[in-house]
């Protein structure tokens, strides 16, 4: 089955490469003409992107940024769920116009797609049962869960080479593996872990049993992903991000999802959206 999907994706990738090459360049004009901005977002990763069980609407930090950009463009938004592994092909094959999917900026990725300025800054940490992980030493030779195709997977393989990395399709499966003792820790960006910890804290069976020890193995600047060489669109998105920082909208969104009263409180510190090139050097 998966092999068939692989071949299918290949065929699509080839078609996509052809189409992509043919119409690369003017997403801004395209989106305005269509009246819809198609955004690739995570669908089960609060507080960044998830589906509200009551309203069935996408909600989250990533979603709010996309909404603002679409509002400024004067178009509607259509959300498409993406995973860490398929998001770049989805963008390159023009199945989405922009990626707002907890995506770390890296020089390797920047060879394939372009990134906006950093709109969120976090670092990779671990989520483990309380008291089991105090330093990286406690993870040596152990099993650590994460998500396929993420930078988390590559960072942890470097930071703890002796550990077995269990890569699942997305983070909730890793959390399940952690709960069942199949892994001693789940590793990814602190902001995502905070959201998962918030979910665990809500359930009576798991309340107070897990924690995020203060061990950081990398810096993770998130950027919005856009197709390569799409200069107009990029400038528009970047200008919008700077405007959001200036008029306080970016801070408001942060407080809405990570403020002290939320399920995943973290400190914004002195982070601000600026015309940076973090993660790309």
């Amino acid at each position: 089955m998966a092999r068939k999907i692989g071949v299918f994706v290949l065929a699509l990738a080839m078609v996509g490469a052809l189409c992509g090459a043919a119409l690369a360049g003017d997403t801004l004009a395209d989106v305005k003409k269509k009246g819809v901005l198609v955004a690739g977002v995570k669908d089960s990763l609060p507080p960044f992107g998830s589906v509200d069980p009551n309203t069935k609407q996408f909600v989250g930090y990533d979603i709010d940024f996309v909404k603002y950009i679409a509002k400024k463009l004067g178009v509607k938004v259509e959300y498409k769920s993406v995973t860490s592994a398929n998001r770049m092909p989805m963008l390159m094959e023009s199945r989405v116009d922009i990626l707002a999917a907890t995506m770390t900026k890296t020089p390797e990725r920047a060879k394939q797609i372009d990134f906006s300025y950093t709109y969120f800054l976090t670092g990779q940490k671990f989520l483990a049962k309380k008291g089991t992980v105090k330093s990286l030493k406690d993870l040596e030779g152990k099993r650590i869960a994460t998500s396929k195709g993420s930078t988390s997977e590559q960072n942890v393989a470097k930071a703890v080479p002796s550990a077995t990395v269990l890569a699942f399709d997305d983070y909730p499966q890793g959390i399940l593996a952690l709960q069942q003792g199949k892994a001693v820790a789940v590793t990814t960006d602190e902001s995502i872990l905070a959201g998962q910890l918030g979910k665990l804290e809500k359930s009576r069976a798991t309340k107070g049993k897990f924690e995020i020890p203060d061990i950081q193995i990398s810096m993770e600047p998130y950027g919005l992903g856009m197709r390569k060489g799409d200069a107009n669109f990029e400038k528009f998105v970047n200008d919008t991000l700077l405007e959001m920082e200036k008029n306080g909208e970016a801070k408001k969104i942060f407080e809405r999802w990570f403020g002290p009263k939320t399920d995943s409180p973290i400190n914004r510190g002195n982070f601000m959206i600026t015309a940076d090139r973090m993660g790309l050097e």
Partner: protein, 235 residues
């Protein structure tokens, strides 16, 4: 027009070649173990299905309907994540210290495929005239012995072509094991893709290896048929 630069060296040498190779090894191991087990289990289920003892027949019937008619992916998740709730804590602890991802994949593939194999074997057995069984029984063979010496050697011979299909399916289905983190071929190909963004090359290499494995299985089965089973039948 095509703005993609092919770089086959990514998958033919160096670190990423090693990854693909280790994926190939795991796929081979996973397929070989599951093929052997599913054939044995399939034989047992087929015998139960044709048995005259009702409880056996009912059990086999339920087994067939249940495992043939639920998706393999669901079964893989069931054995890996779902079994946690029904097993005692000590067993879970022990399993985690083993290579449980691999074991869960073997269990799922074996049980799923054995249901199909059992049906193929049953239809093979049904095509042997029932007088042979009657003759064997009246010559003093027990049910199991008549099956073992008279019926099955002929039936298995007839079952070879559908068995090849089942074994090929099993080998290809083994790629689903990547969903629970078994580092088989498809997992490694995706890994290479996410590190290098050379998806075309990585998946081509995987496709090529799956194809080679398919030919290997077909070849081995045909050889077995010609060298071992044909002489038994006396052709």
């Amino acid at each position: 027009m095509l703005n993609y630069r092919f770089d086959w060296a990514v998958v033919t040498s160096g670190k990423y070649f090693d990854w693909i190779l280790s994926g190939f090894y795991v796929t081979l191991k996973l397929s070989a173990v599951s093929i052997a087990l599913s054939f044995l289990l399939g034989l047992v289920i087929a015998m139960m299905r044709m048995s005259h003892a009702r409880p056996f027949r009912w059990f086999a019937h339920g087994y067939l309907e249940f495992f043939r008619n639920t998706p393999l992916l669901v079964q893989i998740f069931f054995w890996y994540f779902g079994s946690y709730k029904i097993l005692p804590a000590a067993v879970n602890d022990w399993l985690v210290r083993q290579d449980f991802e691999f074991a869960a994949a073997v269990i799922a593939l074996t049980i799923y495929t054995s249901a199909f194999i059992a049906e193929d074997i049953r239809s093979g057995v049904r095509s042997i005239p029932k007088e042979q069984m009657e003759a064997a029984r009246s010559s003093g063979f027990s049910y199991v012995r008549s099956m073992q010496y008279i019926i099955l050697p002929q039936a298995v011979r007839l079952t070879i072509p559908p068995l090849i299909n089942q074994f090929l399916n099993l080998m290809k289905n083994s790629s689903l094991a990547m969903t629970i983190g078994v580092a088989e071929l498809m997992y490694q190909a995706r890994q290479v893709e996410s590190y290098t963004f050379k998806g075309f090359e990585a998946f081509s290499a995987a496709t090529f290896i799956y194809l080679a494995l398919s030919f290997l299985i077909t070849g081995l089965m045909t050889l077995y048929d010609q060298k071992v089973l044909q002489p038994i039948k006396g052709h």
